[in-house]
Subunit: 340 residues, 3 copies
């Protein structure tokens, strides 16, 4: 992808290393706006169609916030029963119609492939906000962006990373996408820890080894894992055939302060795609790590706003113009460190 | 209706020919904003209360978009169970309260007459976005506006039109309203094709003939229909007593490339209120016509934004001021032909 | 509370008399904006996270409107099933994440204490929009502000008020909060009229008498109630163990024109937290009083916008700057008396 302007963002496979770095460069420039040090009106008058045919509060609000921070307006729809799809309308028709109402569309839908199908009818760029078990490229980008920033704080880059992925690696869409994107980088070591039944799919493992990366597969967390990043996951109960089936794995591979200290080095950064399941029978990432400086899970969601702002700016062709529309912020914000 | 400022828009019966033409003149001026050639801030600071007590993604988003394109903000509510109506609040009270929160209200509700009742308590103008089987005036206006524009491209006006309406003419609210509005024009010929059980109501047929128009009623599509417009409809399954009852009629009067070529002249424009039911057992308007230049169904929904912008501008008294608040558009838009 | 900037607003107990008067002074300044005499852009670029994990159309839209009137944008979420909370996410995590997306949060939730718990994880100010049976401080403030304004129209202040509260005083959260706030003022007389089973909780009665106020408790409306304010309430059927249990009390203590004339003085102002239940079997406040000049129920909801604007302005530190960002209003508004 040489030029983002007017493009759909549907899959992590669209991105080469240069494209990823372009997104990250633009995301870096978004930080002062997210910090409320200033604001921009570059997209004033533009409309985002934020179409969530499957619920996801976090992702939906993150997209909407990112668009607002660029000065644009957001029109939303949530749920599938309330839409014309329930009256037998094709995704093509829905796309043709709704793309007439906005400048760019973000879409989440429970069916794999649905967002790509929708994009074929759309007259404006479509960003995939998750199509069931298939793709969620902005999550992969925000994860990778977080890794880049956390590594940069140690003077390191994504190259030469050692990452441990833990938990449900079969149904966890985010670990699939992240592993795929890591194939664009050099000399990565992946330690994959999961129950045998929930292992990373073979196709992704093959892609990793074909990229020349080192792969270690295990069904338990043991010894010293010299990882730079520990990427913990939730059992995706909604992807299992039944709750009972999911319950067999909930509560495995918990991470808490004691386990972290035992298995990881002191600079290992902890990530999680969120939400984490904090109920007693799951609790894959314990609250006793909440204050740990290496816990990057909320930096991840903050970075998601920056990455989504960057993608909007790129597909709408305004990435180079944003600061031309800078305005001051007049209210008190805890996010603006100049206030504190 | 001489002066729209501050008025409710509840019924097609409020419109005389001059009022219709006023709306269409203002709608024409909205095209550059919908095309993102420029934007306007005339309603910056104004609030639309977009109250959808019945689901309709398309209509709801279209109203919201239209208001955003004029520079205003949108506050929304969807669904009836979540509202105070479920706690026994009267429509009068709901109207009195919610009209305190906005500058204009658009409302959809499943009950006939509800929007008019609501408007009696409202302190701001109310636009009817559909009250069950009763009225949906903005749909009728966008249909008629589409006919006017399609006809204008052939150098013709609405007068002297021949329109064929096909399918469920009993429950199809849009065909009732459109037929009613056509009574304002001259020398119209209407060919109504439906199962005998789903014929156009007698009261509307009487109005058509009383207007001096020609009426042809048939229960099948046969021979050469020399219509300028073919207005196809969906079986409104949600208005039938049961799904089984609706199923008796689904799939009748399909239109596809072969049937279109057989029965219509080469310049016949195809319209449909949407959503069209594209499931195999219905499929009243086949996808093999999707690329046909005479298929106007997506021009209809685009025109809906223009008509709704026009109505907002008129009831809020800013129709003459819009271009005083023009601003440039800075982002890339496929809608702006200057970009292409 | 000396300084509102950056503070959470969780409980009426945070307010002393000076703080209440500060809110009311700022609310007074909001009137011209609510009347559309002018508008302000002071919060242009700011984002409200309007999180309604329990439905409340009125309160949700009121908060959103208030923020829009200050120039800000609103991102919303409604319902609890659609949120990550349903996947086992803690309120702490939800707060940490969602507070990254906005400048201030308003939140409603069915569980007592939930909003305070949420605020501990939030990185931005949180305003309690109602946490189940517990607190709803903005409702209490708008009630008290209404009393202050109604009294001011007679040249009186809140001090020396005689208020009658009628109906469900056990479950009615608003009467608890209002009675509590009245303890900040001087020489108040409260007449509490309810079925014995639905009396005001003892703890609140104690607070009232400890404040030196006069308390009269009765289980029926009789004789002449020399009240300045008659505060009528709805049976909160959703707080009862069953609908049958609630039904035992619905329809008691109705107020209509005849009862009002019989028991109250001609200047007694009628208030109600709304929604009022207008179904025949409840009808606690009859429609025959709708045109009565002393019926303040819709002035209450209008005042709610002013009070919420004031709280936003205060916690975001812009209360003194609002008029620096004044802009003219260009559209016709029935709210702007200069138009009429």
């Amino acid at each position: 992808m040489d030029n983002f302007t007017g493009q759909h963002i549907l899959s992590v496979n669209q991105f080469d290393r240069v494209a990823v770095e372009t997104v990250f460069d633009v995301a870096d420039k978004m930080q002062p706006y997210a910090n409320r040090e200033k604001r921009t009106t570059v997209l004033e008058g533009a409309i985002l169609g934020n179409l969530f045919f499957e619920s996801s509060t976090r992702t939906r609000v993150s997209f909407g916030t990112a668009f607002n921070l660029l000065g644009g307006e957001v029109r939303e729809t949530t749920g599938i029963s309330s839409s014309a799809l329930a009256k037998g309308e094709s995704l093509y028709d829905t796309a043709r119609v709704l793309s007439g109402y906005s400048d760019v569309i973000t879409m989440r839908h429970p069916d794999a492939g649905s967002v790509a199908e929708f994009s074929e009818g759309s007259r404006v760029p479509v960003l995939n906000g998750g199509d069931g078990p298939n793709e969620h490229p902005t999550q992969a980008l925000l994860d990778l962006y977080t890794i880049a920033k956390e590594r940069a704080s140690f003077g390191e880059s994504i190259d030469n990373l050692h990452i441990a992925m833990i938990g449900d690696l079969k149904y966890g869409r985010t670990v699939h996408s992240l592993a795929t994107m890591l194939c664009l980088f050099k000399n990565i070591k992946l330690t994959l820890i999961s129950p045998n039944e929930l292992q990373m799919p073979v196709s992704i493992c093959d892609a990793i080894t074909n990229a020349g990366h080192e792969l270690i597969i295990s069904d338990q967390l043991e010894g010293s894992v010299e990882a730079d990043i520990c990427y913990q996951t939730r059992i995706q109960q909604e992807r299992f055939s039944s709750l009972q089936e999911a319950d067999k794995y909930r509560g495995k591979f918990r991470l808490n302060q004691q386990i972290y200290t035992q298995h990881f080095k002191s600079k290992t950064v902890i990530m999680h795609p969120l939400p984490r399941d904090s109920r007693a029978d799951a609790n894959e990432l314990d609250n006793d790590l909440n204050m740990h400086p290496n816990l990057a899970i909320f930096r991840q969601t903050d970075n998601g706003v920056l990455v989504r702002m960057a993608l909007f700016a790129l597909v709408l062709g305004v990435a180079e113009k944003i600061s031309d529309f800078d305005r001051p912020v007049h209210w008190y914000s805890t996010k603006n460190t100049a206030n504190n």
